[in-house]
Amino acid sequence: MDPTPTPKRRYPEDTLFYRRHVINLFIPFLVAIAMLIGAGIGWYIVSVTITNNIFFGFAILFLGLAIFVILSYAIMEWMFWYFDFWAITKGKLEDSQLISFFRYSRSELPLRQVQDISYKTSGFFATIFRLGDITVQTASKKGFFQLMSIKNPKKAVQDISRAVKNATDDLYKSYDSIDVKPPVKLGEILVGRNVITREQLLAALTEQHTTRLPLGKILINHGWISKDDLRAALSAQYGVPEIDLEYAQIDEALLSCLTVPVVRKYKVLPISRNQNGVVRIATAYLSSDLTNEVKDACGSPVVFVIADEDQLTALIEKYYPLSS
């Protein structure tokens, strides 16, 4: 037998491994010892009652066989314990278990789908040995993962939480690149695109100084630009895609992702979720407060898309009525 098997699964060095505490083998091993003692007593009774050497020889044969079977039982219990483990690698949680003979199960969960991690300690052994059952609540179909009889569960929960945070932070990084401080001003984009003249821009800016209305709204009110012009210009300004909500399909299952106060405060609307779990949020404007608060409230990675404010308002009234 090859003493150094080639691992099919190569785990990174910083992988966290968890296995049920070895105390779980206490009862099976106690049973094995009891069986050994029983076999010994049985053999002793037989050996003192028989005088024939042949039967004494058979008694030794059967005793050897009994010890072999009891040892096999102990190895079987060890095997089921040893091959039941959880590994937390960068980005995923793996649950491997030898359920019974010829039945092996292995499932994976992306750490970014983890919603909550908790643990509970109950029972005599668990209290004495500081063991706990950790429940990892997920957004996957499986629902939750349970890591049973884990030594020092508080520290394990902290370590797993850190791994989850690292995984989600890695994912967020790619979406944190949205520069909410646009490098180019909206008016300059519209002038540069020959949508408005510089004189119109100066007039609108003067008006904005007194009315405090958004520049885009003033330009639309004057009829100098269309809503589509504004949406395209804002999309270019923030470097994010635009969306025409008239043709967009709203995934109603996502509506609970944001609360009414957040939606109404920032005029944002969750639209859909892509296969990576990233939620598309429609908004008319972007700001640091908006992006931060929506990300925190949603609890999932998000991307923003620029939409027409009036369409957005109508949909918010429909999906997030004040009475709800």
Binding site: T4, T6, K8, V69
Partner: protein, 71 residues
Amino acid sequence: MNTVLTVSYLVLLVFAFIYAGINVYHVVKYRSQLPVKDAKGSTMVIWVYGIASLTIVIFSAVVALFYIYSA
């Protein structure tokens, strides 16, 4: 009587070896799923188990045969 005992022993021994073989089969088959250190540990356990089992069976058989043939 001796034949009955011998056949019973041999049948039980075959079953015991099948049981042991199933244990070894699972460890050898699934050890590649374990981290390298644990996989090496499981291989060592199986070696110890195999050697100990064979020692027990052979030793008991030798002692038993000694008594049976000295009768």
